[in-house]
């Protein structure tokens, strides 16, 4: 991509959905960054009367959960965990997906065949089921959850990258790099990869969004990390209270939906900014 990151960002800001998305994400980032300052004791302090409704006690503007923990603190720390899970899982799956896709696409042949069958297999297994199995079997910790999500989401990236590599490796600039004796590694990472960053960047925002939802879904099934306060955790502990204190479910749900929505808006905007041609047609 010849467009510099800076100009992409400026164009995103001019894009209406990009702007809205960035604003929401900025808010979420702000929440997670400030959580430690505003609530230095952490989100687990059993500070209030359990199940205090929002607006009743000024010390707890959004009320307290079933154990008397401040909903605001929980939401702030939850933002931190949900974003971290989303970003880390997306990053790991980007790395795996890019490597697999690049190797398969660049070398082709049997290596491509093997890697693509592996990708097929991964895509054939219902990914959420695979994530459940991994987390269930290895144990529910933040790192397991991140790895589980990454392990099930890389195939999409691999396909994307492979398709671009297949196309680009025949181009003149690649051929000439080979002729002057450049190493495969340098051609892959120095020459071809920078040329297929656009779709990767676009899909990464969707990856983050999917990862956040997956984490919440796992937590909903009781497979969250009990030592961290994610929005999914708040949701699943709040759900039994749904009928008596719906706010315990509603706040994290709204936070979750808004964040995912914002990430998708950014994805759409990036798509428009980076690929004038409609990208969605390529599944």
């Amino acid at each position: 991509m010849s467009t510099s990151g800076h100009s992409v960002f400026r164009r995103l800001l001019r894009h209406p959905s990009g702007l809205v998305g960035l604003l929401i994400i900025a808010l979420v980032v702000l929440m997670s960054a400030s959580a430690g300052f505003i609530f230095p004791e952490g989100p687990w302090v059993l500070g209030g009367r359990p199940r205090t409704w929002p607006g009743v006690d000024p010390a707890f503007p959004l009320g307290t959960d079933a154990l008397g923990r401040d909903m605001v603190a929980a939401l702030f720390y939850g933002a931190r965990v949900s974003l971290a899970v989303g970003a880390a899982a997306a990053l790991v799956s980007l790395v795996i997906g890019t490597l697999v896709g690049a190797i398969a696409g660049y070398y082709g042949g049997w290596l491509d065949d093997v890697l693509m069958r592996l990708t097929d297999a991964m895509q054939t297994i219902p990914s959420f089921l695979a994530a459940i199995a991994i987390v269930g079997v290895v144990g529910a910790s933040l790192s397991t959850i991140i790895i589980a999500i990454a392990v099930v989401s890389w195939p999409m990236i691999a396909r994307l990258v492979r398709a671009d590599f297949l196309r680009l490796r025949t181009y003149d600039f690649v051929q000439s790099c080979k002729i002057i004796g450049m190493s495969d590694l340098r051609i892959i990472f120095g020459q071809i990869l920078p040329n297929c960053l656009a779709p990767i960047i676009v899909s990464s925002s969707v990856l983050v969004a999917t990862a956040i939802i997956t984490e919440a879904s796992l937590a909903f099934l009781g497979l969250g990390d009990p030592n961290v306060m994610s929005w999914g955790t708040i949701l699943s502990t709040g759900r039994p209270e749904l009928r008596s204190g719906w706010y315990m479910t509603a706040f994290p749900a709204v936070a979750l939906v808004l964040t995912v929505l914002a990430l998708n808006l950014i994805g759409d905007a990036l798509n428009d900014v980076l690929n004038p041609r409609l990208k969605e047609r390529k599944s």
């Binding site: 297994i125 219902p126 959420f128 099934l221 979750l256």
Partner: protein
């Protein structure tokens, strides 16, 4: 006036009537089949090692619920071959699988096949209905948005789809139960059909439909959003193409232009997408089946993981992968019907 590039790569013109040579078809099916077998073998091996990686086997889980002596546990392990090294167990499993023997589920006291025969239809109906409904509704919404592109209708639909896209299905499920079962009491919350109702024929179908209304809706929303968004984009692109102008130039009604000429072309990327989404739907079914008390493949797999019921888990994965492979094959055939430019080579 410049012409936009055609939506799909043009092939060199060929002459002669278009017929699918049966030999080529057979070769194609064989190739797909061998690929599928390889893929499913990978699925089985991968999941086998995954579950074997877990500490404890089903005998341990069993011992937790009933008092077993060490001797009884050893006997059980021998009975189920759990005392063998893992690769040997795998070999046995694959050898049995080759004869379509899926083994026995100790936790359910029944052959895996017997269990899956009951549970596969639940998920299959859930997923197929959801795919169909999301495709139809999503496509219609997408078409409508594209047709009124830039107008309030488009904006409304786009916002709705964004919301659908961003709301996890379990949240939707919870909201649906709250509104339609607890507040209004219109739909049954749990189960696939009224138990021991004695319904037959249409009565039974209606009963099942009633039971599946909420689960399908909850499962659909996300996919409606996906199809809607892709449908809108595809439609917008197709509507700029020359043959649409040709169709209008022929004096066709707008309805015919949109639904006959544009839609069939815009459907192509949607159909491809549907194939990719089937396994995602089965995954999503885990949550939906749990919440709505449906005993399908998703929930079965979930329980099997926690019971270390290796045979059952592998059975579910095997059968659901097989279904995904078959569905994808059908979708490829469908694609060929929809797009005459794609041919078996």
């Amino acid at each position: 006036m410049t012409t936009p590039a055609p939506s799909l790569p043009e092939q060199t013109p060929q002459t002669g009537p278009r017929k699918v040579p049966s030999r080529a078809m057979l070769r194609y099916i064989l190739r797909r089949l061998s690929q599928a077998i390889l893929v499913m073998l990978l699925v089985v091996i991968g999941s086998f090692f995954l579950i074997k990686m877990a500490p404890g086997d089903f005998v341990d889980t069993l011992a937790g619920t009933s008092d077993l002596t060490a001797e009884q546990m050893a006997n059980l392990r021998a009975r189920y071959g759990l005392d063998q090294p893992v690769p040997v167990q795998l070999m046995y499993y694959i050898a049995r699988l080759a004869t379509l023997d899926l083994g026995y589920s100790p936790f359910n006291n029944a052959p895996v096949l017997d269990i899956l025969v009951k549970r596969w239809p639940v998920t299959a109906i859930l997923v197929v209905t959801s795919v169909s409904i999301s495709m139809v509704v999503g496509t219609l919404l997408g078409v409508m948005a594209a047709r009124f592109s830039g107008k309030p209708v488009d904006l409304g639909i786009s916002i709705l789809m964004l919301l659908f896209y961003a709301t996890p299905n379990f949240i939707i499920a919870v909201i649906l139960i709250l509104i339609f079962s607890i507040k209004m009491n219109v739909f049954p919350i749990a189960g696939f059909a009224t138990i021991a109702s004695g319904y037959t024929g249409w009565e039974y179908i209606r009963d099942v439909a009633w039971h599946l209304a909420m689960p399908v809706t909850a499962l659909c929303t996300f996919f409606i959003a996906i199809y809607g968004r892709i449908g809108r984009a595809a439609m917008l692109e197709v509507l700029t193409l020359d043959y649409i102008r040709t169709a209008r130039g022929k004096g066709l009604t707008e309805r015919r232009v949109i639904y006959v000429h544009a839609l069939r072309n815009a459907l192509l990327p949607l159909v491809t997408m549907a194939g990719l989404q089937v396994s995602a739907l089965v995954g999503g079914a885990v949550l939906i089946e749990t919440i709505f008390g449906l005993n399908g493949m998703g929930r079965t797999a979930f329980d099997a993981v926690f019971q270390r019921d290796t045979n059952l888990l592998l059975g579910v994965l095997f059968v659901s992968s097989l279904s995904v492979v078959v569905v994808n094959f059908i979708i490829d055939l469908l694609y060929m019907v929809l797009d005459p430019r794609v041919e078996i080579k």
